[in-house]
């Protein structure tokens, strides 16, 4: 693992202000073990695993509800996240609020917080932001079709040997590796 990236990358994209040297990331196997314990704890407490995309679905249901409640309750997707009129009291939204705080604590403690745009040296900030939006759109759309994302399918379903989750994981990596060459200038 000597060759792996242990530090935030230098010279990547634009960043606001100077920053002091960030501390190294933790060993991936150590973090993986800790993340596995969080996942196990989630199963032991709630009977189901982690998830992230659901929070975005809840926010979408809430936004639609601002315009028309009838439309939300009639919609096959929104209605599942309506939560009797309190879509923002979704468990997954609060999970992600916790994740935001946890990441902020970890990042500030290691000197890794600062306004930046992550990109390789061969594209512009605006190109990167455009691709970030498009990528987010596709990732969310795909997660809706697959009934889960890296959290809800890959991690959660993988650990319980769910065949659909394993198939999902293989498909994700297949598509990403197939496209990696074409977007290489975005990253390296």
């Amino acid at each position: 693992m000597s060759e792996a990236l242990t530090q935030a990358l230098p010279g990547s994209g634009s960043r606001g202000g100077t920053r002091t040297a960030a501390r190294p990331y933790w060993n991936p196997y150590v973090v993986g073990f800790l993340l596995g314990l969080v996942l196990l704890a989630t199963y032991v407490i709630t009977g189901r695993g982690l998830g992230a995309t659901g929070a975005f679905s809840s926010i979408a249901a809430w936004l639609s509800g601002l315009f028309s409640t009838d439309h939300v309750t009639a919609n096959a997707v929104h209605s599942r996240y309506w939560n009797d009129g309190a879509p923002l009291l979704s468990w997954t939204i609060f999970l992600l609020i916790g994740a935001f705080i946890g990441a902020l604590v970890s990042g500030s403690q290691a000197g890794r917080v600062g306004l930046t745009i992550e990109r390789g040296p061969r594209i512009t900030d605006n190109q990167r932001l455009l691709l970030a939006f498009g990528g987010g759109f596709l990732a969310a759309f795909g997660a809706k079709i697959a009934k889960g994302c890296t959290s809800g399918q890959a991690l959660t379903g993988g650990s319980i040997l769910n065949v659909g989750s394993l198939v999902f994981m293989v498909s994700v990596f297949l598509a990403a590796y197939a496209l990696a060459y074409f977007v290489r200038k975005e990253w390296i």
Partner: protein
């Protein structure tokens, strides 16, 4: 005996507080692994830094071993846990679209939160794209829901599908992780020339 939620009535406040606490651990781990950075995440697709696979695989195997031990000790029945029904067509199609979004956008839903928390503007824009994506799915293509149900094979786990017990699968996954760890270090050395130079 477990999971707790099946035997105890959590108030809404307690339930959401548990979510925040577990989320804290989730987000802390993601950031500590470097997954608040799109370049660190996408490095896995150019082989010079395999951290994404190392972390994910280790997490999956850790939780799998834990679930197996708890079930062997009679403290938890795997069949009591929620298992998302499998639809091969939906998970393949959705996985391919998701994978495209991952390499183009640089994040996945959970890691975009770690990115936002550490100030990545591209993480915030990715999250906005996600919101647009779930909105488009709900408003424009709600028909997918019926298709997913129609193509569902119900709950399918590897032990049920193969008749080989969970214990053997756990052993196989642990062994595969140990082998893959060596293979990934070899890959990282072989593709180290792609790694951006440290200045």
């Amino acid at each position: 005996m477990l999971p707790f939620a099946y035997h105890m009535e959590f108030s809404v406040v307690a339930d959401l507080a548990i979510a925040v606490l577990l989320g804290f651990g989730f987000g802390f781990c993601l950031e500590r692994a470097g997954f608040g950075s799109a370049r660190k995440l996408t490095a896995v697709f150019y082989f010079f830094d395999m951290s994404v696979v190392k972390v994910m695989f280790t997490a999956i195997v850790t939780a799998m071993v834990g679930l197996f031990l708890l079930s062997a000790a009679g403290m938890l029945a795997i069949s009591d846990l929620y298992i998302e029904p499998t639809s091969y067509a939906a998970q393949i199609l959705g996985g391919l679209v998701f994978g495209a979004g991952f390499i183009i956008g640089g994040y996945c839903p959970g890691t975009s939160v770690a990115a936002m928390a550490t100030g990545k503007k591209d993480g915030m824009v990715f999250a906005l794209g996600m919101l647009a994506g779930v909105m488009a799915y709900a408003e424009l293509t709600p028909g997918f829901e019926a298709w997913i149900k129609a193509t569902s094979s119900g709950e399918v786990t590897l032990p049920a599908l193969t008749g080989i017990g969970m214990g053997w699968w756990v052993v196989a996954f642990v062994a595969f992780l140990l082998l893959a760890a060596r293979g990934m270090d070899w890959l990282q050395r072989k593709f180290s020339h792609l790694r951006p130079r440290m200045t």
